[in-house]
């Protein structure tokens, strides 16, 4: 008989906390299922108790989600590294305000945040949806079931459902229990080794990263409401009452999402070193796509509400907006983007589950659109289509099964999916088409429709380009991800008709307009736009035709909406919403144009010693070299260097606070003088680097903000990254104060000038100030000597100067007279030499003219959305009362 192995007892774990969290996860999951069932019964079978029980279970669900949030935060706050999530995403040194950012670094935390917002939205809907509560809440609760399942972390044989944020480190990483040091300590005491976490991604340690992701997530989360109303309306036999509700929530979504997107841009601009606020990165696009379509959908809803037309398009676009949110989640969370994006992703092997999530919501649409027998058939087909991949997806554990699954998906799956989509759109059209006579070309609805369609065109391009990694995976293509220039080239032209229609739209009346009534203001506006364009094209220095055209359209957008608002609404600010949002968008696009067309890389000058020209075989300067090769300049410490109109001076650097800080701040002064040599402008920037072992050199830019421009700089390289030449020519001297001594080669003369004693918990610290002179130049060296009085051990901290190529260390003290006042001490000093090098930094300096217009435009736009939402709510209230 084999001896029974005693189970290992793990010491110091707070397992109860994780168990508590897990209980809340399960509670919230079950509550969301019950809520959905009761709401469904109330809607379908008029179960009168269904409404109240649906309500209660959803409230329980919401409370449980908050509890999960609190538990996860506690785990991070109390540094409980026995939990994988805390170990993976946080560390002891993480300040409390960044702990919240841990939630969006990990996938489980992101799902939790989404659940939280959805729960909050659900609670708001319980108060505002009135007669629509039960069908709408069925959809919201259904989403919560799907999202909640992502957190379950059930392992049942080969089956894996969700990934729990409360998984244990030792279960996630059993290899950690095999590390040699635990052999002595005992495996049960592993927590004594794992005293610190892996840490939060350095890029996320920025205050904008504390507020940008939750804003964006809230924007994403609100997209479910218009979708839910659309589904509810179809369910209720094509009821028209959903439009006003969906419109309000659609506007809320566009406003918050827009704000979240630009916040992300601002973070990128302030904290990342790519030199801009928008790079057409797949993750940025993933948030832009739902915004574009929701903006389009909101306009369609306005048309449908006012005229009854385009009901089909309203339904389709509101639903598409939500699907695109799900698609964006799939893109950013499944790891499919891989190298295509600068953002980092984790793949928890939930791709299958995410795909199912997407398909489940598509299925929901199909079920409510079809009626009678067709609905039943559709249900069977969907069940079959969903079950097969579900079984496959959930049994994925080996790379082979993943491969099989993808093979299956590629062939039949893609075809089936497309067929499903086409059939769905057809069925939706049959169900919601409106028989009305042709709309007039002079009606507002016509121009709004056209504008919405151009937004969709813009979306089509972004979608097609961003999805390239998906197509590559599906069909085995090898297409490279398009560059920012590819996007700009297309989007520049698509933005122009959108701006034109946004300027004109308001002047037309619903159902038809008297041309004579708008002829005069149109001509006046036209003249105004031409005059302002001429003025501003010189003011902004915009010359190329297409950019002038773009500028004039953005001016038209601002002018036309301001004039219209004033003429029609005077000071009834609540009614100004749409116009103000349009003005904001115009200001934003104007800022985008001016700041990118005239973005000026100041450091790309042809002067300076680092700019060795590339010369081809014939001795001509290589044009390509000049174009690409000159964006960074090298600044020696203390040596002024002209950078276009400025003189840049690298003054000094300092380490970040904290003993083991890997942050370095470089002080760079920028001075601008006029012809008389008088300083007209000067400022100091402190770009930061973080030489991160995991992520390489992270450069955080430093920016000087003016009203009309920004000067932006970041350090791309610095001399301490060079391979160090070791010191040699060592020499030892025993010297007292003020007695000159020389280095081995005699090139540098040193004198001990003063001593500084201090006492702290580590013992006695002696610091010498040594003056080193070479060729009339001098530098201070401050080596230190530490004596631990308890143990009697000592330690030395040498000092060095790269510029002089020397080092000095205190090896020992010889105290001749114990009275410190006489300073009769002699020091054993070791000196060493190497080739002198100047410290330097390699920086890029960029000037962004009028970038403030981008931020100002965003703020104006958000104000517009707030007013529009308030106005719509007001109207809705008046209607119901």
């Amino acid at each position: 008989m084999k001896p029974v192995e005693a189970p290992i007892v793990f010491n110091g774990e707070w397992l109860w906390l994780g168990n508590l969290g897990h209980v809340f996860v399960i509670l919230s999951f079950i509550a969301s299922i019950l809520s959905a069932i009761f709401y469904f019964q109330h809607e379908k079978n008029q179960l009168s108790a269904g409404l109240i029980w649906g309500k209660r279970f959803f409230q329980i669900h919401a409370a449980a989600i908050v509890a999960v949030f609190v538990v996860l935060f506690s785990i991070i706050f109390f540094h409980r590294y026995e939990f994988h999530y805390a170990w993976r995403h946080s560390s002891n040194s993480l300040p409390v305000y960044y702990m919240i950012s841990c939630f969006w670094e990990g996938q489980e935390g992101s799902f939790l945040l989404w659940l939280f917002w959805n729960a909050l939205i659900g609670l708001v809907l319980q108060r505002t949806a009135k007669t629509w509560e039960s069908p709408v809440m069925v959809v919201v609760a259904f989403a919560q079931i799907a999202l909640g399942s992502m957190l379950l972390g059930f392992h049942w044989g080969e089956l894996k459902i969700g990934s729990s944020p409360f998984d244990l480190l030792r279960e996630q990483r059993p290899d950690f229990l095999n590390i040699p040091i635990l052999g002595q300590l005992g495996v049960g005491n592993y927590l004594q080794v794992f005293k610190d976490g892996n840490g939060l991604n350095a890029l996320l340690q920025n205050y904008w990263m504390v507020i940008h992701p939750p804003t964006l997530f809230l924007g994403f989360a609100t997209a479910i409401v218009p979708f839910a109303y659309s589904i509810a309306a179809l369910w209720r036999n094509n009821d028209r009452g959903w439009i006003a509700h969906a419109l309000i929530w659609g506007l809320v979504c566009v406003g918050i999402l827009g704000l979240g997107i630009i916040m992300g841009g601002f973070w990128a601009y302030e904290a990342l070193s790519f030199g801009g606020y928008w790079a057409w990165d797949p993750v940025e696009n993933a948030s832009l796509m739902p915004w574009l379509i929701m903006a389009s959908a909101a306009h369609m809803l306005i048309i449908t509400k006012a005229t009854g037309r385009h009901l089909f398009t309203s339904h389709l676009l509101t639903q598409l907006a939500f699907w695109l949110v799900l698609y964006a989640t799939f893109l950013t969370r499944s790891g499919i983007l891989g190298e295509a994006s600068v953002h980092s992703f984790t793949d928890l092997g939930l791709s299958g589950q995410l795909l199912l999530f997407l398909l489940a919501f598509l299925a929901l649409g199909l079920v409510v659109v079809l009626q009678g027998g067709k609905r039943r058939i559709a249900l069977y087909v969907i069940a079959a289509v969903l079950l097969v991949p579900m079984l496959l997806a959930y049994s994925i554990h080996t790379p082979e099964t993943v491969e099989t699954f993808y093979q299956w998906l590629k062939g039949l799956g893609t075809l089936l999916f497309l067929g499903w989509l086409v059939y769905y759109v057809y069925a939706l059209y049959q169900r919601t088409k409106v028989e009305m006579d042709e709309e007039k070309l002079d009606s507002r609805e016509f121009w709004m429709f056209l504008g919405s369609m151009f937004l969709i065109l813009s979306l089509v391009q972004v979608f097609a380009a961003t999805s390239i990694p998906v197509f590559n995976k599906l069909f085995g293509y090898k297409t490279a991800v398009p560059s920012a220039a590819d996007y700009n080239r297309v989007q520049l032209w698509l933005a122009m008709p959108i701006m034109l229609l946004m300027s004109l739209g308001y002047w037309f009346k619903f159902r038809g307009t008297e041309w004579s009534a708008i002829k005069k203001p149109m001509i006046q506006l036209g003249i105004g736009v031409v005059v302002l364009t001429v003025l501003l094209m010189f003011g902004f220095d915009i010359k190329e035709f297409k950019f002038v055209l773009f500028l004039s359209l953005s001016i038209a957008l601002v002018l036309a909406n301001t004039v219209y608002g004033y003429q029609k609404k005077k000071f009834e600010w609540l009614r100004w919403g749409g116009n103000i949002a349009h003005v904001g968008f115009g200001v934003l696009l104007m800022g985008v144009l001016v700041s990118s067309v005239n973005k000026n890389i100041l450091s790309a000058s042809k002067e300076g010693i680092d700019l060795a020209p590339e010369v081809d075989q014939k001795g001509n300067q290589d044009a390509k070299g000049i174009k690409f090769n000159r964006e960074n300049q090298l600044l020696y410490k203390g040596k002024p260097q002209p950078i276009q109109q400025y003189t840049a001076l690298y003054i000094d650097e300092r380490k970040g606070t904290g003993v083991d800080s890997i942050d370095k701040y470089f002080k760079v002064a920028f001075i601008k003088k006029d012809d008389q040599g008088k300083t007209v402008d000067s400022f100091v920037l402190e770009p930061k680097t973080q030489n991160n072992a995991k992520m390489g050199l992270l450069a955080e830019p430093s920016t000087r903000h003016f009203i009309y421009k920004d000067v932006f700089t970041h350090v791309n390289y610095e001399s301490s990254l060079d391979r160090k030449e070791p010191f040699s020519n060592f020499r030892i001297d025993t010297v007292g104060f003020f007695r000159p001594f020389i280095t081995q080669t005699g090139k540098v003369v040193m004198t001990i000038d003063s001593i500084n004693r201090s006492k702290d918990s580590n013992g006695l610290r002696i610091q010498l100030s040594i003056k080193a002179k070479r060729l009339g130049d001098s530098v201070w060296l401050r080596p230190e000597f530490l004596i631990n009085e308890q143990t009697g051990s000592f330690d030395m901290l040498p000092a060095e100067s790269n510029r002089f190529g020397i080092m000095a260390a205190i090896l020992n003290l010889e105290i001749i007279d114990p009275n410190p006042a006489t300073q009769n001490i002699r020091f054993v000093i070791q000196t060493g030499e190497k080739t002198p090098v100047w410290d330097y930094i390699v920086i890029q300096v960029i000037e962004f003219p009028w970038i403030n217009l981008v931020w100002a435009g965003t703020i104006i736009m958000v104000i517009g959305f707030v007013l529009a939402v308030l106005n719509r709510i007001n109207k809705q209230k008046q209607l119901t009362s």
Partner: protein, 135 residues
């Protein structure tokens, strides 16, 4: 045909034209010899090469001579070797890079990269590496 449908048709046309022109402009991930051929046929066209750093050969970056020039050798996915010149400062931890995507074009005897997208090495072997781009 009603004018409304005509407009829808025109819009669809613009949409299709946009997508086709965009895909026409995209490049494939290529190997170094292809990049060389493309550069001869179509000078200045940028291509993407998936590249592995040759750690046995020297990586030359001397900021004081030219801060905007990094030279190294790399293998493409088919194991062809080529000299690569990158026109920006050397990314830190560059020596430890496992895989990168070079964006640029072939120039005489070397690949001239104007951008390098890289997946940085991680402290822990399975910890998902954050991707950073040097633009």
């Amino acid at each position: 045909m009603k004018p409304f449908h005509l407009i829808l048709l025109v819009l669809a046309g613009i949409g299709i034209a946009t997508v086709i022109s965009m895909y026409g402009n995209t490049t494939q991930y290529v190997a170094f010899p292809d990049a060389q051929r493309i550069a001869q046929e179509n000078p200045g066209k940028t291509v993407h090469v998936v590249c592995k750093l040759n750690k046995a050969k020297p990586i030359v970056y001397d900021a004081q001579t030219n801060a905007n020039r990094l030279e190294f050798y790399g293998f493409d996915s088919l194991n062809n070797e080529s000299k690569v010149v990158f026109t920006k400062p050397k990314p830190a931890q560059f020596e430890h890079l496992e895989k990168m995507v070079l964006i640029g074009s072939y120039d005489k005897d070397h690949f001239l990269a104007t951008e390098i997208l890289s997946k940085c090495p991680s402290k822990y072997e399975d910890a998902p590496g954050a991707t950073t781009a040097s633009r």
